[in-house]
């Protein structure tokens, strides 16, 4: 004779209970009086014993599931007994139907907390304070009638928690220091947030072999120095980007409503870290300038930035940005677009690395470029073509002599 164990009614006010744990699994032999599962309601866990010996043929309610009292929980029957009739509709049998089988009798009651199913009796004001202060009411000692948590209980609990926190020297936090955002910082904060929220950004990384780039700089450095200029890699990068942007103007643009607006000139901003903030002075018409002119404009702007003498005109009008973190040993990163521009190029550290060349491992100065672009304006392939072109120009810098202007 098959036996169905149902959710027991263990208290007058109990309307439902949860299966906390199965002590047996389907197919296990169970003896009469053996604990087969635990059910929980309010803060009490009950162990339910098998009313008859047999095999646990079917578990109908999984742990953590709350069901009304009287809901069938499992079927105990002989190994070969046909239980298909009992299975029909069993999982959905509502409590109101009063199954013919007797309820499981309450067996052993555990003293452990029932976990998720905690009924909290508290006054509205106590609940409000707890919510405001982020207090878990389940942990508060309630001294009202029947354990009801009153306002004073919550206030006392908060006081004691504070005292405990203060008594633990490690847990004691240093007084918080507050730093007001400078005007510049506020602008940066706002622009970066705007960029992050509005532009779906993609970053592509490519490794660039800098052997020839390095040679070019070595060769030209002294003649620049004679003119009082410092030929930084950034200027060569600017030139290469300007060339590539002229060829692929979609990256030298901005989005306005449903239109992409292409810039005529290529004005490249160069991110410069100063004590106070990150400044981005802009070298105008990079495509129309030679390397001397770019270095001359760039050096002047950087000097102004360091001295805090940049004029509004010096930091506006950019159509593309280069940000170089190589001096900090950064390999690659994901720059954030300087709005409303379409793209930004991140430059990593130039470093000697082992490379495979014609089946041989050779050491080469390598650098990683990270292009972040606005996917609303261009797709991955266009971005990839752009950064491939920049890579090509840097790896063969003589190409910079044979380009569109």
């Amino acid at each position: 004779m098959a036996t169905v164990i149902t959710m027991p009614k263990l208290g007058l006010t109990m309307t439902s209970g949860s299966v906390a744990k199965w002590h047996k699994k389907e197919g296990d032999r169970v003896e009469k009086g053996e604990v087969i599962l635990e059910v929980s309601t309010e803060k009490i866990t009950y162990k339910v014993e098998a009313p008859e010996s047999g095999v646990l043929r079917k578990i109908l309610v999984q742990p953590g599931t709350k069901v009304p009292i009287g809901t069938p929980l499992c079927i105990i029957a002989a190994m070969d007994e046909d239980i298909s009739e009992l299975l029909k509709g069993a999982p959905t049998a509502p409590a109101a139907e009063k199954p013919a089988q007797p309820e499981a009798k309450p067996a052993l009651v555990a003293a452990k907390p029932a976990g998720e199913e905690v009924l909290i009796k508290a006054t509205p004001i106590a609940k409000k304070i707890a919510k405001e202060q982020g207090i878990d009411l389940a942990l508060v000692t309630g001294t009202g009638p029947g354990g009801r948590i009153v306002e004073k209980d919550v206030l006392d609990f908060i006081e004691r928690q504070k005292a405990v926190a203060e008594a633990r020297p490690v847990a004691k936090a240093a007084p918080l220091k507050r730093i007001a955002l400078s005007d510049v910082r506020q602008v940066i904060a706002e622009r970066m947030s705007t960029s992050w929220q509005n532009s779906p950004m993609v970053t592509l990384n490519v490794d660039v072999d800098c052997a020839l780039l390095k040679k070019l700089r070595e060769d030209l450095k002294s003649s620049f120095k004679e003119k009082g200029l410092n030929l930084s890699y950034n200027y060569i990068l600017m030139k290469a980007c300007a060339v590539a942007l002229k060829e692929q103007p979609m990256l030298n643009s901005y989005l306005e409503g449903n239109e992409v607006v292409l810039y005529d000139e290529v004005n490249i901003g160069l991110a410069v870290a100063t004590e106070e903030a990150l400044l981005v002075p802009v070298v105008k018409d990079v495509a129309g300038k030679n390397l001397y002119e770019i270095a001359s404009d760039g050096d002047a702007l950087i000097e102004k930035a360091r001295k805090g003498e940049l004029a509004i005109d010096d930091v506006t009008g950019g159509t593309f940005t280069i940000t170089n973190l190589g001096m900090f040993g950064v390999r690659d990163f994901t720059p954030i677009i300087n709005p409303p521009q379409c793209a930004i190029l991140g430059v990593g550290e130039m470093k000697d690395k082992p490379c495979v060349c014609d089946g041989q491992i050779v050491v080469k100065p390598m650098m990683t470029l990270s292009l972040t672009f606005d996917h609303r304006i261009v797709d991955g392939a266009q971005g990839a073509m752009f950064i491939r072109r920049v890579k090509e120009l840097l790896e063969n810098p003589l190409l910079l002599l044979a380009v569109l202007k």
Binding site: L10, G11, L12, T13, M14, V35, T41, E42, K43, I44, T45, Y46, K47, K105, P106, A107, L108, V109, A110, A111, K112, P113, V118, L119, I120, K121, D136, L137, A138, L139, V140, T141, G142, T143, G144, G146, G147, I149, D153, D156, F157, R160
Partner: protein
């Protein structure tokens, strides 16, 4: 409804195993209808009991240390985690036939808590309950632990109420597996606690809360 209830006060500390024997015999008497309820009030010799839900992981020391302290380790079939019993703690084992009161275990547990809360009230101590954890709490310290069992609505086990316990023993465990709160004893709040007086008050509060008179009987009666 008048109920036939009895109380046995043990004057000497009992081993945990002996306590169980008395409970089982009392259970038989209640099952046989010789009484509606039998209340056993006693103290245990130092013992850590581990319940079915485990608890050994909350024993913080080696069993050899327990030996040095003279504390027994006892595995029980009751629910709950690790618990300490020892001198200075009132252990109440109500063997009640709940069919004569209310077939309602949450109600019953709440009544046991109420007994302790009422006793503490007599000492001007405001105690309460925590929604998440059972037992009786004074501020965030547990003063009484509760663990019950029931079969055919007849109860076993009960509560352990710290009156003047050796708290160094509690330091060897995480009581009931609860790590964030500690334990309290009545003598933390009241100087020169008279243990027998607290036992007497506990009896009175049982009568009050469970609306029944308890006739005192000798422990030998249980064994007859």
């Amino acid at each position: 409804m008048s109920r036939r209830c009895f109380v046995v006060e043990f004057k000497e500390p009992l081993g945990y195993g002996d306590g169980l024997t008395f409970q089982e015999r009392a259970f038989e008497k209640v099952s046989a209808g010789e009484a509606d309820g039998i209340l056993l009030l006693l103290e245990h010799k130092p013992v850590f009991t581990v319940g079915r839900s485990g608890g050994r992981e909350n024993l913080l020391v080696d069993e050899r240390v327990l030996e040095a302290y003279g504390i027994e380790l006892y595995e029980t079939n009751r629910g709950g985690n690790i618990t300490y019993h020892g001198p200075g703690q009132i252990v109440a084992y109500p063997i009640f036939n709940l069919s004569k009161w209310k077939k309602d275990l949450p109600w019953y547990v709440s009544c046991l808590e109420e007994v302790v809360i009422q006793v503490l009230k007599d000492y001007n101590i405001k105690a309460g309950r925590k929604p998440k954890y059972r037992g009786v709490w004074v501020a965030d310290k547990k003063i009484a632990a509760i663990g019950i069992a029931a079969d055919r609505w007849i109860t076993m086990h009960g509560f352990a109420f710290n009156v003047r316990v050796d708290k160094s023993h509690f330091e060897l465990i995480n009581p009931c597996g609860i790590k964030e709160f500690s334990v309290a004893s009545l003598d933390d709040y009241v100087e020169d606690v008279d243990f027998r007086e607290v036992v007497k008050k506990t009896r009175e509060k049982f009568s009050l809360v469970f609306e029944a008179g308890f006739d005192e009987v000798a422990k030998e009666w249980i064994l007859t």
